[in-house]
Symmetry: C2
Subunit: 216 residues, 2 copies
Amino acid sequence: MNSPTASLPTLTTDIVPFAIRGERLEVLLARQTTGWGLPGGPVGVDEDLDAAARRQLAEQTGLSDVYLEQLYTFGRPDRNPARRMVAVAYFALIPIASGSAGVPAAGDAARWAAVDEPPPLVLDHGEIVAVARRRLAAKLLYSTIALQLMPERFTLSELQAVHEIILGEPLDKRNFRKRVLAMDRIEATGELARHGGRRPARLYRALHPGQVELIK
Amino acid sequence: MNSPTASLPTLTTDIVPFAIRGERLEVLLARQTTGWGLPGGPVGVDEDLDAAARRQLAEQTGLSDVYLEQLYTFGRPDRNPARRMVAVAYFALIPIASGSAGVPAAGDAARWAAVDEPPPLVLDHGEIVAVARRRLAAKLLYSTIALQLMPERFTLSELQAVHEIILGEPLDKRNFRKRVLAMDRIEATGELARHGGRRPARLYRALHPGQVELIK
DNA sequence: TGTAATAGTGTTCAAATGACACTAATATAA
DNA sequence: TTATATTAGTGTCATTTGAACACTATTACA
């Protein structure tokens, strides 16, 4: 275990795990001794930062194989009154559970919260969530990052809904479709989504799953 | 002084100090025991990260009051073979010396190097410089960041030259002027720059010096 | 067979962008 | 004093891009 010393700041990672659930953008929180906060914790002495973030996310929420991106490093000396801690923050994007069980949440130790009306969080985790949210919305506009929130097969309506939820505004259906198809990063599978009571939609898949590319 | 321990990574800041000198984008390097590298070093136990970066830049190069922005945190366990070090990297933008002495460089302990043909640098500092350079070029296109490289008074031709040097491509004079004036972030002072042998140019100044705004 | 619900599709206008060439003002040299 | 060299400064037109906008198609179910 890492024990804090007087001579060095403790280095941690904190992860903001985003997913679209229902009609909202939500964050997965981890229970801590003093309240709810972001999954995360101390970085091992010889552990890579990205690896530490992945490990902590998996240990505290059961999530693995997700998209992870470094966000910012928070290091104000007073961010933790107890002892000096510097946090390398990441955000994670968790695909909408497609059909199967839904996103795992480690029972009592984790819970989802809406990003727009979050509960009070420990330390500066509220600020970290806000920064992550802004970054995510910004990247929607010039990258293929939204695909990381989608299941393997998805409809264009679903993809549009994800954009609308994150941006917080409705988008024009025809313009949206024109734009995402022009990117050439998704293709129709030929299959149809059946959901009862209405016209079935074509299913698409990402051409380079896992990759996030800048566009235009 | 900070002494490394077995149980925690040492946390440092590294700063990439950019300036336009002559017709090139250059970086200010600091002499280290094993060669040339970026200014930087250990973060104090109760020192803010930004403050640590500013302090180290001042101590090692004499530069103060410059634009500073956090870049990325580099933490691969093998980036320093001697002992585990995690570096929060920043870049700094140093205004072109306007008339006066030129950018201070602390004698023997610091030197400027062209970004395009850098000398070998210690550790992963070459990579850090490359990342910083890409970020700077990207931000030119959608922010007013270039103004941080300009002296208090400057001509539009000088501003255009700065863009061209960083982007590595020539820009159309009329379109460039249209664009930067439309931003409404600089204004003509009414003065003229005299430089002998040709038509004098109008001098402009930044409307909100020190601020970097996103545009469009 | 009718109805309710979502999927899917083009055109038109406005705005932004990109290409392009000449005149103006100064210092210096002839 | 005049000619020349050098950089500053300016507008238009064509193309591309972005935004607004409404109807038909396909299915499940009543």
